[in-house]
């Protein structure tokens, strides 16, 4: 079976900045493929090149078997795009926006109006269909933008940071909608800097950092090496200087890190002796607030593979919006 998306040696430079540095990957038909990386890693530039909004400096790519360098607009009818910002027409109603987007793909009036009603209904926006897009909340705008991206029922959907900047409830709804689209057979290329989102939704993930793909694998394979690890997070009021070194010399076989201020992370191949570690800290003068066993996650893999500290991604989350 032909890959839905096939990319080889794709490069893009903006002046001195190498935004995408020769990436190669493929997305299989029906797959939900995640493109995970921090802001400025090259995710949006990659999507722009794949969807025809930017020209690569070099490399090749095909969508649905169509060589997009030879025929840049040849695959446009196969794809749907949901950009990182809701970019529908503010002066049109939700219904008119969807209907207009359908018309851009040649849908006839009766067909596109029926489809618009169906989508408004299934996205929980039926009551707001006649309202102007400019009056929608951020979450509603995001949902309508996704609906617009699938108006023409594309086989391949590009989703750029779909939950950035929206509240927790809306983000949940959007994730459920993405999962539903995938269950119905749509191939999805999802870019995100939310690690949990990628872990929850994607079958395969590529980690992209500074324009380079550093690892591509299934979520299962990525998690395999760390599933046997035991991790404990201990939160204190404050930590004395050198405490990490003191812990390491007292508890052989345990690895200690300080992922955040006032937090100690203890990691081992066997269960972490929480009691003795907490007692040690208290005897050293620390006020322990909480000790929690943590299930190792994709975040740990990301940190290990990319070398980017998880708190760098965490701060992006805080700046980016609700979860």
């Amino acid at each position: 079976m032909t890959d839905a998306v096939n990319v080889s040696g794709l490069k893009k430079r903006f002046g001195e900045v190498e935004a995408v540095a020769g990436i190669s990957f493929s997305v299989r038909q029906g797959e939900l493929f995640g493109f995970l990386g921090p802001n400025g890693a090259g995710k949006t530039t990659t999507i722009n090149m794949l969807t025809g909004l930017a020209r690569p400096d070099s490399g090749t790519f095909s969508i649905g078997g169509i060589d997009c360098l030879e025929n840049p607009r040849g695959a446009q009818h196969l794809i749907g795009v949901v950009p990182d910002e809701s970019n529908l027409y503010p002066e049109l109603s939700g219904f008119d926006n969807l209907s207009f987007c359908g018309a851009l793909y040649g849908m006839r009036k009766t067909e596109r109006e029926a489809r618009a009603r169906e989508l408004l209904d299934s996205f929980g926006l039926a009551g707001a269909g006649s309202r102007k897009f400019s009056g929608y909340s951020k979450g509603m705008k995001r949902k309508l933008t996704i609906a617009a991206g699938i108006m023409h029922s594309p086989g391949i959907l590009f989703l750029d940071e779909p939950t950035t900047g929206i509240d927790v409830a809306s983000a949940r709804q959007v994730r459920a909608l993405i999962q539903d689209l995938h269950d119905r057979g749509t191939t999805i290329f999802l870019t995100t800097h939310y690690i949990e989102e990628a872990e929850r939704l994607c079958g395969r993930i590529a980690f992209i950092v500074s324009g380079r793909i550093v690892r591509t694998d299934t979520v299962e394979n990525l998690l395999q090496p760390i599933l046997k690890k035991h991790v404990v997070h201990i939160t204190c009021e404050s930590l004395a200087e050198g405490i990490r070194e003191d812990l390491a010399s007292s508890f052989q076989g345990l690895a200690f890190t300080l992922p955040q201020n006032s937090m100690i992370r203890a990691e081992a191949d066997s269960p972490v002796p929480v009691g003795p570690v907490v007692r040690f800290l208290e005897e050293a003068g620390a006020v322990v607030l909480e000790a929690r066993r943590i299930r190792p996650s994709l975040e740990d893999v990301f940190v290990e593979v990319t070398g980017i500290e998880s708190n760098a991604m965490q701060s992006e989350k805080r700046n980016g919006g609700g979860r």
């Binding site: 025809g52 930017a54 607009r73 009818h77 851009l104 793909y105 040649g106």
Partner: protein
């Protein structure tokens, strides 16, 4: 068929969203009226001067009607990124931009008839040769619209589009022979006049009323069409270079 559906819907959306809005329609009516009044007051002449003023008024109405809206709407859509939706659609860039400019062309043509209708109430304009007037109006509208498009794709902010438009529009009022012949301009400025598309459109309009054209009408038409093609090609090239970079 797909391209036709997309083309028609882009055109209709723009007409509904931008051109048929009350402020825009009132601008289309007030603007030619204000210019007519200004020239009457300035010249101190009577109603018999209306036919000689009409070509200039028609040209101004088209020029301002087309450029003021298109350059702003395209820049606005580019700025809020809704223009990306159009760029992602499976239609050629040429069809897309023709659809996008269609509304402005129609608006310009409609604007051209406002001074004509008003003039018909006050003066005898029976000498108007429609066979010359209609193509002149249409191609002035096309050239002005494509000039607006060229401006829109050359700037990134809405206010820049307005400033840049005026940079072209106001000199054209005086340099293109709308109200006095190019032969009365200083020698140094004449080459500039001949480099502007409105010069040929205005000459055709003068030719359509009382045969006051300075150049052969077919040459005017050919050069006007050439300007239209060049401005459209330059705009497409600019879009590819700047917006699909």
């Amino acid at each position: 068929m797909n391209t036709l559906t997309a083309f028609w819907n882009i055109f209709v959306k723009d007409m509904r969203t931008y051109y048929l809005k009350p402020p825009n329609i009132s601008w289309g009516l007030i603007f030619p009226l204000a210019w007519t009044g200004m020239f009457f007051l300035k010249s101190g002449s009577g109603l018999e001067s209306i036919p000689s003023l009409l070509p200039g008024l028609v040209a101004i109405s088209i020029l301002f009607g087309t450029t003021s809206m298109l350059s702003v709407t395209v820049t606005f859509e580019k700025k809020n990124r809704s223009f990306e939706r159009l760029l992602l659609a499976p239609i050629s860039l040429k069809s897309l931009m023709l659809a996008k400019t269609g509304g402005a062309i129609v608006f310009g043509v409609v604007n051209a008839f406002i001074p004509v209708i008003m003039a018909a109430f006050f003066a005898d304009i029976s000498q108007l040769r429609l066979i010359v007037f209609l193509p002149a109006v249409f191609f002035i509208a096309v050239a002005s619209t494509f000039l607006g498009l060229f401006i829109a794709v050359s700037v990134s902010e809405v206010f820049e589009a307005q400033t840049f438009s005026n940079f072209f529009r106001f000199p054209m009022i005086f340099l293109c022979g709308l109200f006095f012949p190019i032969s009365r301009l200083p020698m140094l400025l004449r080459p500039v006049s001949y480099a502007l598309p409105l010069t040929y459109g205005a000459d055709m309009l003068h030719g359509s009323i009382g045969g006051g054209n300075a150049m052969p009408l077919l040459l005017d038409l050919a050069l006007l069409i050439l300007f239209c093609a060049a401005l459209f090609a330059a705009s497409l090239w600019n879009i590819k270079r700047k917006w699909i970079a």
